[in-house]
């Protein structure tokens, strides 16, 4: 079907065409207080289309795949292309890249996932919540969920690219509350994997969620001060997410990032190595090729503190006179596995070096400014004195600047776990402003 649409578009006058088709089967169950709350199952298909005529680009998507709708959509899209202005940087990857990646070796698909019985999935969610609810101190539950997804992705373009692959995802998660009504603490944990056997057990997910909830109970306020802050892996992952937005080739050509013109410069501590790697077997961000069919690669982003590459699709690469890094994601740029390489330090060791400091566990809010790298977020954490954890703190904000944070990394943890596709290990960052009372 994808091939047919490419040829219809060509016949209708398009110079270049890219078609992607996605079929998804999904299942999810939410269990709360040991009862099924929601049970969802569905199969859907979507089409995305990009056409270029005389260097002018138009996009379309549809979940209505009936012949009449598609014909009308194709005609409209080609016609619509003439309303865009000619853009010398537009167009498919050229010359057409060769795909040498062996897809099965990437282990994106687990045949066990489609075979999982609904009863088994429901039982996993129930068991996870049951274990958590039996723990003292847990007073309410947001419920446990188990989700699976199987997708088949096809990509064809007018340069002769035609490939497809299948992928699976499964996820077990749990959200909890502890404490009484006006002084509650919240916490959650999850495990998401492509392969069912890699999912953490209900015990592991439950115990982690419980511990992460209880440790925030009865927080205190603290005075405004600058202290070393230990970013837990989930917090480093959040910081990496911000870095990822700032090294996107699109943000760079739009000059919407503080890293514009910084290629080759030292932007971080020499302990910092960051990669975008689409080829790590069975990892969440892995894919054989990007949404333009450019084969995945391992891209050094920061090496020993030096900025090496921006993440580019073909368009951003042409604008910046660089090469695509196989990060095309729809019409924009997105990461594959974007991670900060693990170091050798243990987080317990980092804590023991803190005379006075904060273990950052959660942030809320939106305070990120890619233009300047400025960060200002509400935070929850544990206060450390004399190398010992003292008490939880809340109603604080941490603020500073991503560029400064990266330069001030004093220790890199050994606990990188690829829990999310954008991730990092524990990081000790010196001298961060924590505002409280």
């Amino acid at each position: 079907m994808a091939e047919d649409i490419v040829s219809v578009c060509r016949k209708c006058g398009a110079d270049e065409v890219e078609v992607s088709l996605v079929s998804i089967s999904e299942f999810s169950v939410d269990v709360r207080w040991q009862q099924i709350e929601n049970l969802v199952e569905a199969n859907t298909r979507y089409l995305s289309l990009k056409v270029i005529k005389e260097k002018r680009t138009a996009y379309a998507t549809s979940s209505d795949l009936t012949r009449e709708t598609l014909h009308r959509l194709i005609k409209n899209t080609i016609n619509r292309a003439s309303y865009a202005q000619p853009d010398e940087f537009s167009g498919l990857p050229s010359p057409a890249p060769e795909l040498e990646i062996e897809i099965p070796a990437l282990r994106l698909f687990d045949p066990d996932v489609p075979e999982l019985e609904p009863e088994r999935k429901i039982a996993l969610a129930k068991e996870t919540e049951r274990i958590a609810l039996s723990e003292k101190g847990i007073t309410n539950t947001h419920g446990a969920s188990f989700e699976t997804k199987e997708a088949q992705l096809t990509l064809a373009n007018s340069m002769g690219f035609l490939n497809e692959y299948e992928e699976t995802l499964c996820s077990l998660s749990l959200g909890l509350q502890a404490g009484e009504t006006d002084a509650r603490a919240e916490g959650y944990w999850f495990s998401t994997q492509r392969l069912f056997k890699d999912i953490e057990s209900p015990e592991e997910v439950a115990k982690k969620a419980v511990a992460r909830t209880l440790r925030l109970l009865n927080p205190r306020k603290i005075k405004t001060q600058s202290v070393p802050v230990l970013f837990e892996p989930m917090m480093s992952s959040w910081l990496l997410g911000f870095l990822c937005a700032c090294v996107s080739g699109v943000s760079i050509y739009q000059e919407a990032s503080f890293l514009v013109n910084k290629l080759g410069e030292r932007i971080a501590s020499d302990k910092i190595n960051v990669f975008d790697d689409g080829l790590l077997p069975a990892k969440l961000g892995t894919r054989p090729y990007d949404s333009e069919g450019v084969p995945s690669q391992t891209t050094p982003v920061i090496e020993k503190g030096e900025l090496r590459n921006f993440l580019c699709n073909t368009y951003a690469a042409r604008k910046l006179k660089l090469k695509s890094t196989a990060n095309a994601d729809g019409a924009g740029v997105g990461p594959t596995n974007f991670y900060l390489q693990a170091g050798r330090d243990q987080s317990s060791g980092m804590i023991s070096t803190m005379d006075k400091g904060l273990i950052l566990m959660r942030t809320i809010g939106h305070g990120l400014n890619p233009l300047t790298g400025d960060i200002s977020r509400g935070a929850f954490g544990l206060w450390v004195e004399g190398g010992e954890i003292c008490y939880p703190v809340s109603e604080i904000t941490i603020s500073g600047n991503l560029g400064e944070f990266l330069m001030k990394v004093e220790a890199v943890g050994d606990d990188l776990d690829f829990r999310t596709s954008v991730c990092g290990p524990s990081l000790l960052i010196g001298d961060v402003l924590v505002s409280g009372e």
């Binding site: 998507t61 305070g367 400014n369 233009l371 200002s376």
Partner: protein, 475 residues
């Protein structure tokens, strides 16, 4: 409003009788209630950056979701293949959540109509040409660019969406609606020496193209975005610590939306995860405070004639003189809490289960002159525009203020960039000292996210003075 089944016969290949039979099938495993949500959505997008109309997009979404409720369990199946075979499969998927004995139901669907029309348009987006829409984009772009030499980059996005929907349920109701939605936004980057700042503005709602000549012109949007970016070039870093805070009218509505609105959504109250779950009829804020959610305001982004469960919505009083008096209900929570529907069951699209959601949420006007309020602060912070905010069920919240001012000696002085407001909702509501007489609404461009579902919303408030609040920022 148009009668169901007539207006969209061409789009939705299912007759009223067929929908009735599908509902009967969904209840065949013993469920108590079932509904079908049929949706057709066409969405257009135009993007201008780097001085060119870079691309356009048309997106078509057609599909159906079937829900079955059994006690407090929900089964849901959805499909974008509307063949009877696939639709029946989705019905059986949803039906499986119930495990009672086979139910016997005969469902005859009767049309329900809404009393109000939130989007009477003279020029609906589907009737406007692409040229007209492109011209709006170019006008905003050029205005922003020409405002000042320090404007370095401009990006303008136009979005419109025409949503047609039918909701049919096992109570025998069938409702249809058509919802236009439009927005034009402008983002700007300014530069002075090494300093670079961003500005944003926009407009829209359930409006037609006439909005951009009568209400908010593209030129105004371009200019506002540019002015914000220019103002911030001279902004100082925010003060840190506890201090009196004055919230600007309109834009600060987002604070009420996050810190109060979400926690008055019935699912959080019913599940006792919200700090408000045991506060009904109790004082939770200053006695000056009245908060409403009103889905019936004409042309507002958050408005609708019927909600996504087919319920005709009502303006709902949530906080009256500082007392909690209402919650936002969908059918499931209302049933379980034995409370009336309020018409706040919304969903992102046919792939989603409806949830209790806000529409247009606002703090009603108070008695004080807004200038008087600012004059009453010797030293404090004025929060003007926001990047966004987030709240926890416990009521703890964080807001990112993209631009504000210092208040010194009762006057707004230096502009302030990227500050954070943090606090706990009941504490802050109690510390409201004065409400201005100047009720305004924020930009008609907002989207609210909950459980992974995004829906359009609006919020508003008058000038609000809070006695003491924690401001975080760089020192």
């Amino acid at each position: 409003m148009k009668k169901a089944g007539l207006a969209f016969g061409d789009i939705f290949p299912l007759s009223r009788e067929a929908l009735g039979q599908i509902l009967e099938l969904s209840l065949s495993r013993g469920g108590e209630f079932s509904d079908i949500f049929l949706e057709h959505k066409v969405h257009h997008f135009i993007n201008m950056e780097e001085d060119i109309i870079k691309e356009t997009l048309e997106s078509i979404s057609l599909g159906l979701g079937i829900r079955v409720i059994s006690g407090d369990r929900t089964g849901y199946g959805f499909t974008n293949d509307l063949s009877l075979e696939k639709v029946k499969k989705a019905a059986l998927t949803a039906a499986a959540v119930a495990s009672g004995k086979r139910g016997e139901h005969l469902i005859s669907l009767q049309p329900v109509t809404s009393a109000h029309n939130v989007s009477p348009l003279s020029c609906p987006p589907e009737r406007a040409s692409l040229e007209e829409k492109i011209s709006l984009v170019q006008r905003a772009y050029e205005t922003a660019q020409k405002t000042d030499q320090r404007i370095k980059k401009v990006k303008v996005v136009y979005l419109d969406q025409g949503q047609s929907l039918i909701v049919a349920n096992s109570d025998g109701d069938i409702v249809s609606d058509q919802r236009p939605l439009m927005k034009l936004t402008c983002s700007v980057i300014s530069e002075k020496g090494k300093r670079r700042e961003a500005g944003f503005s926009g407009g829209g709602g359930r409006v037609g193209l006439e909005y951009f000549s009568e209400k908010v012109t593209p030129e105004k949007i371009g200019q506002e975005a540019a002015e914000e970016a220019l103002l911030l070039l001279d902004a100082v870093d925010p003060p840190a610590g506890e201090m009196p805070v004055v919230l600007a009218p309109g834009h600060s509505g987002v604070l009420i939306h996050e810190a109060v609105g979400h926690l008055l959504e019935a699912d959080f109250v019913r599940k006792k995860t919200s700090v408000f779950w045991d506060k009904m009829e109790k004082q939770v804020g200053s006695s000056q405070l009245n908060i409403y959610d009103d889905p019936t305001i004409p042309h507002f982004r958050g408005s609708y004639n019927v909600d996504d469960e087919g319920t005709v919505p009502k303006r709902t009083l949530l906080i009256h003189k500082g007392k909690m008096v209402g919650v936002l209900q969908d059918r499931l929570s209302a049933k379980l809490m034995r409370m009336p529907w309020t018409g706040h069951g919304r969903r992102q699209d046919y792939t989603c289960i409806p949830l209790p959601r806000m529409s247009n949420t606002f703090v009603d006007r108070g008695e004080y002159d807004p200038e008087e309020i600012i004059r009453s602060v010797e030293k404090g912070f004025y929060a003007n525009k926001y990047q966004g905010g987030q709240v926890e069920d416990s009521g703890k919240f964080t807001f990112s203020v993209s631009s504000g001012f210092l208040i010194e000696g009762g006057r707004l002085t230096a502009p302030v960039r990227l500050a954070t407001l943090i606090g706990s909702n009941i504490d802050i509501l109690t510390k409201i000292e004065r409400l201005g007489s100047d009720l305004e609404f924020g930009l008609q461009t907002g989207t609210c996210s909950k459980g992974g579902q995004a829906v359009p919303v609006t919020d508003g408030c008058p000038t609000i003075k809070i006695k003491k609040m924690t401001v975080g920022g760089r020192v």
